[in-house]
Symmetry: C2
Subunit: 222 residues, 2 copies
DNA sequence: TTAATCGTTCTGCTTGACAGAACAGTTATT
DNA sequence: AATAACTGTTCTGTCAAGCAGAACGATTAA
């Protein structure tokens, strides 16, 4: 079998996936409801996850995600541009544009928000780290598609311009501008983006944002 | 059995634990060497891990950690003080002291380095995020112990002083000063610390570092 | 050519995990 | 107070799922 898996592991990972942004602590019964697995089964799975430091059991009987999961997870980002390099760039972009600045990388047919610095405006595009978004929609997605391997014909324009602008493409209220970050070897590393309320992205605002983006993207590579 | 586990899950997690700070991409054979498991077994385990987005298989046949592992891992930190709050504080501390600044939380009988901003000096204490260190040794450890639940009698002095200083306690070359970060309810959230080469921590330097630490710790809670 | 890798496929045997009931403890409802 | 509806946990017989190990072809090195 080419797609061979281990059911017990699948189950254990589905237990972990029961956590989400809003629910950081879950009870055994809650796991059972979300996964559809039996409590006795989950208890054993959690036993292994706990032993590995992937979850911790609080004194209130609620399970939370553990430190070892996080430590391993933080290794993921290290393959790309490190935090020390990208974060100052995003902060500069946020200060220059007053909008939310972010850095995306490609993951198969999706894009992942690896770093972000949210705008400080009351009406802001609030991005979540690790969010998985489609490649086809949104400025950063289309940039990753256009400058990645096997770019579709439809992305010819993005390649030519060297940037992408999205006005309410993925979410109707949100506009975004994105430019690629390219290696010395021409390898695509990711996409820088600035995003905010669509009505704030006038033609002239887009121009200045784009200038800042281009400059910062250059500063990332060489 | 009170400590019931699932072997397949234990194995899968031991496969993940084969990754470390230096080796972010591993081959199947390398997994086999490190875990002692058979290649056929590992292949199936990786199948499940890959399906869940916990690992990704590169075109070179090497496995790396996946984005979903990272996304879940980042939820771990959210239970504590979020990055947006702690990081600026650490940066200020680093700028004020020119030493490495860090934020620790307790995890059972250990402490975890949740956030850190490394010093920019050539001879610096280079901390790794997620590092698990003992509670008994080191300034931050003793602070977490003293202000946590069930503090031992030996930590009376730390409680009284409101800080801990370690001169070569855990590592002979490293000195550190740490203060607790306490909730509005008096709940211990973590420990702020500044650390560096032991010879730089003169009595007068300790005093000024301590002032900065106290001030920033206060700014964290309100 | 030989030898030592690599990743992948296949199979019989056995062990380990599952379902489900039953348990005691706690909280909510009446 | 008494019921009901929840918790989390323990136990066990049955069954299949995962393991060990060999065998495979494809690379790469000597």
């Amino acid at each position: 079998m080419p797609q061979d898996r281990v059911e017990a592991v699948d189950r254990a990972l589905s237990v972990l996936s029961a956590f989400n942004e809003d629910d950081l602590s879950l009870s055994l019964a809650e796991f059972s409801r979300r996964t559809g697995l039996y409590k006795s089964t989950i208890l054993r799975l959690l036993g292994s996850l706990k032993a590995a430091g992937f979850v911790t059991l609080g004194p209130d009987g609620l399970y939370s995600l553990g430190p070892d999961l996080w430590r391993l997870g933080s290794y993921y980002r290290r393959r790309y541009l490190p935090s020390e390099v990208v974060m100052p760039v995003l902060e500069r972009l946020r200060n220059l544009t007053k909008e939310t600045a972010s850095f995306y990388v490609r993951d198969g047919e999706n894009r992942i928000c690896l770093y972000r610095v949210n705008s400080e405006r009351p009406m802001r595009h609030h991005l979540v780290q690790g969010a998985r978004l489609p490649l086809e929609k949104g400025a950063a997605g289309r940039v990753l598609l256009a400058f990645g391997p096997e770019p579709p014909i439809s992305s010819q324009e993005v390649r030519y311009l060297g940037h992408a602008i999205s006005l309410g493409e993925r979410e109707s209220e949100i506009a975004a501008i994105s430019v690629p970050v390219v290696d010395d070897d021409g390898q695509l590393l990711g996409a820088l983006a600035v995003s905010g309320l669509v009505t704030r992205f006038s033609e002239v605002a887009c121009e200045t944002h784009l200038d800042h983006l281009r400059q910062e993207a250059r500063s990332l590579t060489g």
